[in-house]
Amino acid sequence: MAKADITQAEGDLFLENITKQFGDFRAVNDLSLQVPQGSFFALLGPSGCGKTTTLRMVAGLEDPTAGRIRIGDADITYAKPYNRPVNTVFQNYALFPHMDIFENVAFGLKRRGIKDAKQQVDEALDLIQLSQVAKRKPLQLSGGQQQRVALARAIVNRPSVLLLDEPLGALDLKLRRQMQLELKRIQTEVGLTFIHVTHDQEEAMTMADTVAVMNEGIIEQMGPPTELYESPRTAFVANFLGQSNLFPAKVAETSGDDVILEDSDGRFVMPKARVSDRVVTDPGTEVLVGVRPEKISIARLEDAAPPPADGNFVDGRVTSASFLGVSTQYEVTTHGGDTINVFAQNLDVHNLVPQGEDVRLSWLPIHGFVLSGHDDINAGVEKNV
């Protein structure tokens, strides 16, 4: 294979079995992923899971302990950072304090000897709505303004791959939404590959074509946002993206395309298609049954219609009901002792179920999912909520 010119490399970004070891600590563990050229890829995960470390290896600021990184055919694993067609928006901005905003944004263009740097810088400053502060020093800007400058400084170079390490973290909600739209627009217009690291699952889901959920140095699951939300593969993903009700059960039997599960509250039917590929459906296998709170319907026990033949239901008692305006959030303790959260849309105020009432919860089999019983049921639950 002819040695491709790294500085001009284009194509999909490949990380192949990347491991990064800091002494005894493994920050990134045998991670593989492919980011299609021109796509918006979000890397989502809790603090300390190795997101920044992964980006730094792609940028060339950290050498992987093992593995390969490619852009198209060009192997960039050990290429110098200044030879890669990759630019980074640093998590802490890393603006040059002795240069003004204009010089900061022009830095990359000047290093490559680009002729009409001024015009491109002016455009970039327009884009982030900071033309008026071009002559100021970074320390004279607010945190959010600095963050936008960091964004402009990277984007102005139009790299093959743009790495964004929580680029909107310091912005208030309004500006954040606005910049999200801007970013998405730039990305589709220019066709750059964006790798966007974020804590914010909403941001990841609204912006990205593909989301990878990362935890403790590995990728738990990767796919389009809807797929991740509807069919999580692990308890971590189920809990980290939105909320999930998870409760332990056992496989009782399989019949046709369905799996019958059993727990202290009775039996549930699940289509085999809704069972995580990590679970073998032999009778006796321990599993976790999952249902999103908004997919469960709640009804007073005496009002409840007889359960449909193929529906799942459990009976329990409402232990708390919080009216949230657009919806009501119930916490129901089942007779078997599980706690289940339900979000019910407020279609009719008179249907609110008060605390202490006996209720029947029901959901369609295709709305549930089945995970491995070895998963930690609380993995990925946000601790401060």
């Binding site: 940028a59 110098k80 200044y82 980074t88 290093r111 490559r112 020093k137 170079n157």
Partner: protein
């Protein structure tokens, strides 16, 4: 206005106490400054003394000393000696010290922490001890005392100060700035030249000034190792027995004002840089 006068006044003791409370810091500062600046003022005043043999009692005012600072024998040659030594020492110790500081901050190598500790040794050792042991060393190596030995001795103790000063500046420099530069297509060399060096430059400049003033000022170590070679402090000390000529006051005052000017200019430049 009439209302204000009509309002009952606080008792005198209370007002006195408030006044002292409000102005205590200012009073203290004035006293401290008088204490600090009195010797300088004295030196400056006596540079205008039309002294006879000694410059101890005030005779009468004259411009002569300032118009003719080389009037007294040996004053100017000793000043020139001090300046030459100071400049060489500044250049050499700033370069060497800066390099040491970079290696201590940027690289992990064996003996790094030991080096860090040893750097402090020349600063912690009493000057008489340093001076006398250097003298013993030079004598044992049969190095003739004079200009060379003074320069060597000064470089030796100035390096420590340069290292400490530059190191402090370097340590506060975020390594991610250089990484960001390299991410933006700057080679290692360019990142150093455009990011690191400009950001560390104030520290290096401060270290250089410090080295110069330490060298220019040094008497104890110089006196041990200079042989017949005379620097300005040594000249003053030697002539103290016979009477210090007022030209020495002129030189000292001039040095003070030059130093003051440098400080003011650098402060002014620093403020300008921040404003723009």
């Amino acid at each position: 206005m009439s209302q204000a006068t009509a309002a009952p006044k606080a008792p005198l003791t209370h007002r006195l106490r408030t006044w002292v409370g409000d102005n205590a810091l200012r009073i203290y500062a004035v006293i401290a400054f008088v204490y600090l600046l009195l010797p300088v003022a004295y030196t400056f005043a006596f540079s205008f003394n039309d002294a006879g043999r000694t410059n101890i009692v005030w005779n009468s005012f004259t411009w002569d000393n300032w118009l003719n600072p080389c009037g007294a024998p040996e004053v100017c040659p000793s000043v020139v000696n001090s300046l030459v030594v100071g400049l060489i020492v500044t250049v050499v110790s700033t370069i060497l010290g800066t390099l040491i500081a970079f290696s201590l901050v940027r690289y992990r190598f064996r003996g790094r922490s030991t080096t860090n500790l040893l750097i402090f040794l020349p600063m912690a050792t009493p000057e008489v001890v340093l001076g006398s042991s250097l003298l013993a060393l030079f004598l044992n190596l049969f190095v003739p005392l004079g200009f060379t030995t003074v320069v060597l001795a000064h470089i030796m103790f100035c390096i420590s100060f340069v290292v400490v000063t530059v190191k402090a500046r370097l340590a506060s420099l975020d390594p991610r700035l250089e990484q960001a530069a390299m991410d933006l297509y700057a080679s290692e060399r360019e990142a150093f030249r455009r990011i690191t060096l400009p950001l560390v430059a104030p520290g290096i400049a401060a270290a250089g000034l410090l080295a110069f003033s330490l060298s220019f000022d040094d008497f104890i170590i110089t006196n041990f190792n200079s042989g017949q070679f005379t620097t300005f402090p040594k000249f003053v000390y030697v002539s103290a027995t016979r009477g210090i000529p007022p030209q020495a006051n002129v030189i000292a005052s001039a040095m003070f004002f030059i130093a003051l000017a440098i400080v003011l200019i650098s402060q002014f430049a620093g403020r300008r840089r921040k404003e723009v």
